[in-house]
Structure formats: C-alpha cells, structure tokens
Symmetry: C2
Subunit: 423 residues, 2 copies
C-alpha cells in the first residue's frame, strides 16, 4: 500500500462504470420488449439469463416458510435484532406534517405523505445480501409505504437464496418476484400483468440494472446509482495499526475497484499500517480481490498536521469515514462531507454495515458533497399547503397582483383581483 505525502488537493482515485454503447442498447431493447410483451418477456429473459424456466414469477408463501428451514435459527435471531435496530434508527428520521396559523386566517404548512409503492432490487448469486434487503425495505416500511415489492433473479433451481427470503419476510415484504436484470427494472417501472408498476425503485445491481434504472428515471424515481465502496480512516498515533489495517481490508475485499484510504499525521502509524495490511491480506479468503483493490485504489496519505488531515478527508468526501484519534467526537464538527462517520476504535465499519441501525446505502464517488444516506425521506414526499382567508387576500392581494404585472403575467393579476372586486 503506497504512502503519499499530502500536498495540495487530494482526490480518491475512483472508477465509474458508465456501461458500453452495446450494453445501453441491450438495456433499451429489453425495456421495450418487457413493455410490449409483459410477463412473457420476463420469463423468456429469465430462461436466457438465469437458465431457468419459471411457471410462476411470484414467490409463494410456502417457499418463504421453507426458507426458514435453511437458515440457522441463531442467524434468524441476529437478523431480527439487526432489523429491530435499523427500524429504531429510521423511526427517528420520521417528520410530522406541520401547519402554521396567523391571526388574519392564513394557514401555511407542509404535508408529508409516503409514496404509494416501492420496488426493491436484490442482486442474485454471491451478491444476494440479506443486509441489503433490510437496509432498503425497512426505511420504506417506516415511511409508511403501503406496497413494497421485491425482485431478485432466481438461481438455476428457480429459487431465491434462503437468507434473502428470510430477511424480506422479517422486514415485512409481502410481494416477491423471481426476476432480475434490466427486465426486472422494466417490469417495476411499467408493470406487467403479474407485476403492478411502482413509483420508485431502489437497491443495488450490476451494470445492466444500473443502466435500466437510469433509463426509467423520470417515469419513476430511483435511488442513487452506487459506485464501488470506499473507506477513509482518519487516525492519529493513538490508533492500533492492526485494527486500521483490518478495517481497510474489510472494504478492499468487496471489489477490486473498492477504495481504502488512510489519512494520518503520523508517519509511524502509516508505516505500521502498511506492514499490517500486507500481513493480514495474505491470510484472507478473498485475498486476490483485496490485494488488487489495495494496489489499484488504496493509499496512505500522510499530512503535516491534523488540520490538513481533516481538509484532506473533506476533499475525499468518502462513503465511510472512520475516526480513530484521541478524541474523535471533537472532530465531528469539522467533517463536512462523509456518508457515514464511525467514531472511535470500537466502531469498525462492519458495525454499521449490518447491525447498529443507520443505513448502509451511502453516497459513493465523492457525492457525499451533496447526497445523503438512504433514509425515510427517500420514501416520503412533501406537499406545500396554502390557505388564505378573505382578510389575508384583502391585505395582500394588490401586492401580489403588482408582482405578477412586474413579470408580465396579467392573468395572474386578474385571478387575484377576481376575488377582490367582489363584496
């Protein structure tokens, strides 16, 4: 892992996969086909891409019951506890509708309403993460979304992984379909005979899923399109090198394009972490992925002082930030850009990935400068409320009409005056 002295602006080296022209064409074709041929197209693509001919797309209650037999009951309890923590955290994000009243009869306000329906995409194969089900479904549930649909590509035996089904059931999903890829996104956006359309689609997926989400965006809402995962560790010489290294590697094992960075004022820590990463990496099952990720996207930045460390972190705007310093809390106010902030040596990133409660769907690729973790807000929308009394309009109507005329909009002025001219 290379050590770099900070001088001037620093950015995390990142790659964004925008897809090829051919991939974009394929996705457009799939969407058009699903819009024309509905369920038949879904089944044909499932046969083609997932190598299984399905009779029914929807997962039956029986299959969910069965799934519980295939997950260790101790794990079911852990998933339940994680779900409870996630629910409890997201309930704190709920905001009430509000109204204000004035003596002249004016009422202004903001009404908060859940979305009618949401679709959650869950990848198949080794990327079928139960934690991802919890993190996408529970905020929607807490927001009050009535219809939550899950889609996931089936394996060759026509089933969805037991852990995913159990997580979906515990999170409260009542409608699950065995369909993946761009065809699943098309079905969620435009509907088929079996799958009614939804208003918003969330959840991670491969490049075809990402391109399909971009394509349907506008007709329905989508969540962010996530890039490879990132961690920045901000540490001083009170940090333990082995723990810092372990955390960097936990990010690196995700993906060869994941980015793991240490920012520190301490050259001693930098060198110790460099050694530890090498040693620990060699002993990992996913060693090859982690090695390549560390080599291509990892770095240890050594800054002149803590001020420069903080400024570097703000420039990076990392998805995950761990603060391992003598007093982490006192740096919190200085951190402007980070998806999730883990404070102290006992707050290793996996604590947040699975269990603590905050969402693990976080802004990647520097977008923490302007984006937020997935939250209850993403599953609700607001409507403004305006109610003027006769008195309020008599007090302000001529000013409103004058403003409208300044902008050359005479019918606006007359709409107001149509009320004022009457007794």
């Amino acid at each position: 892992m290379k050590i770099v002295k900070v001088s001037g602006d620093v950015t995390i080296k990142r790659t964004v996969d925008g897809g090829t022209e051919a991939q974009r064409e394929t996705v457009k074709e799939i969407i058009a086909n699903v819009r024309s041929n509905g369920d038949d197209a879904l089944k044909a693509y499932t046969e083609k891409f997932d190598s299984v001919m399905l009779e029914a797309l929807q997962v039956e209650q029986e299959e969910i019951k069965e799934a519980y037999q295939h997950v260790d009951s101790k794990l079911v309890e852990i998933i339940k506890e994680a779900a409870a923590n996630i629910r409890s955290y997201h309930e704190k994000q709920l905001r009430p509708s509000w109204l204000t009243t004035e003596e002249n009869g004016t009422i202004l306000g903001q009404k908060v309403t859940p979305l009618d329906s949401v679709g959650v995409y869950v990848p198949g194969g080794t990327a079928a993460y139960p934690s991802s089900v919890l993190m996408n479904v529970i905020p929607a549930k807490v927001a009050g979304v009535k219809r939550i649909v899950m889609v996931s590509p089936p394996g060759e035996d026509g089933s969805i992984p037991a852990g995913v089904l159990v997580a979906a059931d515990l999170a409260g999903v009542k409608e699950i379909y065995k369909v993946g890829g761009a065809q699943a996104i098309a079905a969620l956006a435009y509907g088929t005979k079996t799958i009614a359309p939804v208003d918003k689609i969330t959840g991670p997926g491969n490049i075809y899923v990402a391109l399909a989400k971009r394509e349907v965006f506008g007709d329905v809402d989508i969540d962010m399109i996530a890039g490879p995962s990132e961690i920045a560790v901000l540490a001083d010489d009170t940090a333990k090198a082995d723990e810092v290294a372990a955390d960097l590697l936990s990010q690196a094992e995700h993906d060869v394009r994941a980015s793991s960075v240490l920012v520190t004022p301490s050259m001693a820590l930098a060198e110790a972490v460099q050694r530890e990463v090498e040693v620990q990496c060699a002993a990992l099952p996913r060693r090859e992925i982690a090695e390549q990720s560390i080599r291509d996207f990892g770095a240890i930045y050594v800054a002149a002082n803590m001020e420069e460390v903080v400024e570097t972190v703000n420039q990076l705007a990392p998805e995950h930030l761990e603060i391992m310093t003598a007093n982490g809390m006192e740096l919190l106010g200085k951190i402007r850009h980070a998806g999730a902030i883990f404070i102290g040596r006992y707050s290793s990133e996996p604590v947040g990935d699975y269990f603590a409660g905050p969402n693990h769907v976080l802004p990647t690729n520097g977008t923490a400068r302007f984006s937020s973790p997935l939250s209850v807000d993403d599953f609700q929308k607001k409507s403004s409320i305006i109610s003027y009394s006769e008195q309020a309009l008599r007090d302000n109507g001529s000013k409103i009409a004058e403003f409208a005329r300044l902008e050359g909009l005479e019918a606006h002025a007359r709409a107001v005056e149509s009320r004022l001219k009457k007794q």
Copy 2:
C-alpha cells in the same frame, strides 16, 4: 375547453421536451469547450448567443446599486415582503442534527450539513423572473450554504434585468455572473478561472440549459428538470365559475404547453366555467398563448361523485392543486399527490407563486407521486453517526461477525474480532 366525463383512469396530457440529437450534441460540445478554454469560451459563446462582447463576466457592486434606480420603490418593498415570507416559511423546514445515547455507551445520530456551494440559473429575456430568484436562493441561504452563485445571460446591452439583480441582492447573493445557456452550466459544474465550481445547480432554463444540467449531473447535483406548468382545480358547486376560470387561465398564459384542468362532480359548474374561460381568455394580453394551451392541454373532468373527483386528482398528481369546495380542509387527508395544495377560494395560485412563502418550484409531469417542492432539504445533506463503546462491541461483536460470514465477507468479521480478541 372540452368537458369530459370521467370513466376509469385519467391522466393529464403532457409533453416532455427531451431535446433533439443535434441539441444534445451541441450541448456536449459547449461543455467540452468550456472545460478546455474556460473564460475565453464563456465570452465567445456570450458574443455568439447573446450578441454582446463582455470585458468582465462578474456583475459589479455598482451595477446592483444602479438596478435599484430602475425598479419602482413600492415594488422593491413588495419584493422585500415576499422575501421575508419565503424566508419565514423555509426556516420552518430546518431540521437539527440529532444524537441518541444508550447506557452501554452506544451513540447513534444524524448530522445535517449545508452544501458548500450552490449555483442558481436565472433565464434571460421575458423569462427573467425575480420571483424565481427568491424561490431558488432563499432556501439555500436558510440551509446555511456559504457560497451562492447566480448566473444569467446578459441582454444585448450587457446588463441583467434590474428586477432580477434587486431580487438577488435582497435574497443575499454576493456573486453574479453574466453568462447563460449550456456554457453557464458547464462553468458552474467544472469551474473556470473566474467562476469557481459549485456542488449543486438549480433553477429553470431553456432546452439547452436542461440538457446541460442532465449532462453534468453526477459530477454535481441538480434540482429537478421542470416540465410545463400545470394546475388542477378541484371544485364543487359552491365554487364561483369566474374565479375558477381566472385561475385556469393564469396557468394557461404561461406557456402553450401548460396544462389547466378542472375536476368537479358538478356539470353546472363545468358548463359555467367553460363559458367563463372563453369570455375571459378573449380579454387577455397573452390571449394567443392561453387559447392554444387551453385547447391543447386543458380539460374539464366531470366525475360521478366527490370520491371519484379525489381519485382523479390523485391520478393526475398535479403540480398545483386548488381545492374550492364547501370545506376544503376536510379533503386534505385524501390528497396523496400534489406539489402544492391551495385551499379555499381566496387561495388563488398566484398567492403561492409570489408571496405566501412556500416554494413555487414544484414537481411537474406527475412526479408529485414521488417528488417534493424545492426546500431547505435540497441544500443540506445528512451523514450518519455511529459510535460504539467497548462494551457495545463486546455485547454485539460476535453477532456482527456471524452476519458478515453469512454474506461471505471474512475480512469484515475479522475487523470486528481484531478488537474483541484483545483485553
């Protein structure tokens, strides 16, 4: 204006201008040129498109002072009062950061941070609306954004309309540049020598501006891309036909593609409004625009009963909704989808366009199903906070490690265990 009996699903007829291939190519070329040639490119495009050679891009303090001489002082006072109302409403949207603590030392929370910098686009010519300046700038200011930049194309005399400059000054903008079109969006997204880049771009614009915003999205954030304006009036036979007609026409005068719709259970009201629209329209300065808009995108929907009226409105998900019924407030709970809801006969839409306080930047094109009015939330972002104590990790660490192993991520498990194995 045609009268249609509701039967089954109803949708507002809408057009979305996605631009032509040639326009998209032009926009890409302009962006590339601004990225390569910076200020020189901006000045060259301003000469080409706005017919003026500028020496300096930035508006000087002197020009702002001068602008006040060209706006009626009574209007300045009206703009000030509108700004105060807008500020007061948006301050109620502010949300605090929060923390929760548990006895075992766990701290979880959510930190709310303003964006560092925002760019507001203001169209030129007849679409240079002071109200649009207030509605875009004030929420950013209230959110705590430190740097707010405004861009607007100059007229042939090299100036920006006085009303726009006065509104910008009253809203607290300190940095204004004379540049418009796709070149302005490129400058805001990527920066030039004169214009430092921003993190988010908001504000309406023509098709080139809209395409440029789409193009830079991801590198910076953008607000929604607005379609033509829409109003739905929900009225029973207590409503005054002349007032309903005046409100429909105030929307129709905006744009030939604007959409004005009445939904009512009363055929008598429908027919009276139909007549009033014809009479009032004939007397409008922007008659031709309003006429075409009403003809192409207007409709009066007559439903069997109030329940069907409400369901129709929810299907339409209009940008603006006016409720003119015997008791408007009692319908509020049934309205699921609308950008802004105006209740009662004295709440004519222009009340909200200019003055009352809620934002006039609203979701169009049915996106009120999942989108919200522009708000303080759009200029802040959240970071999750996670701090586990040693005790909290000892209580939960093995569960977290087990969950990680369920997902096949061994380094995640080891990161947690690296802390637990020590005394």
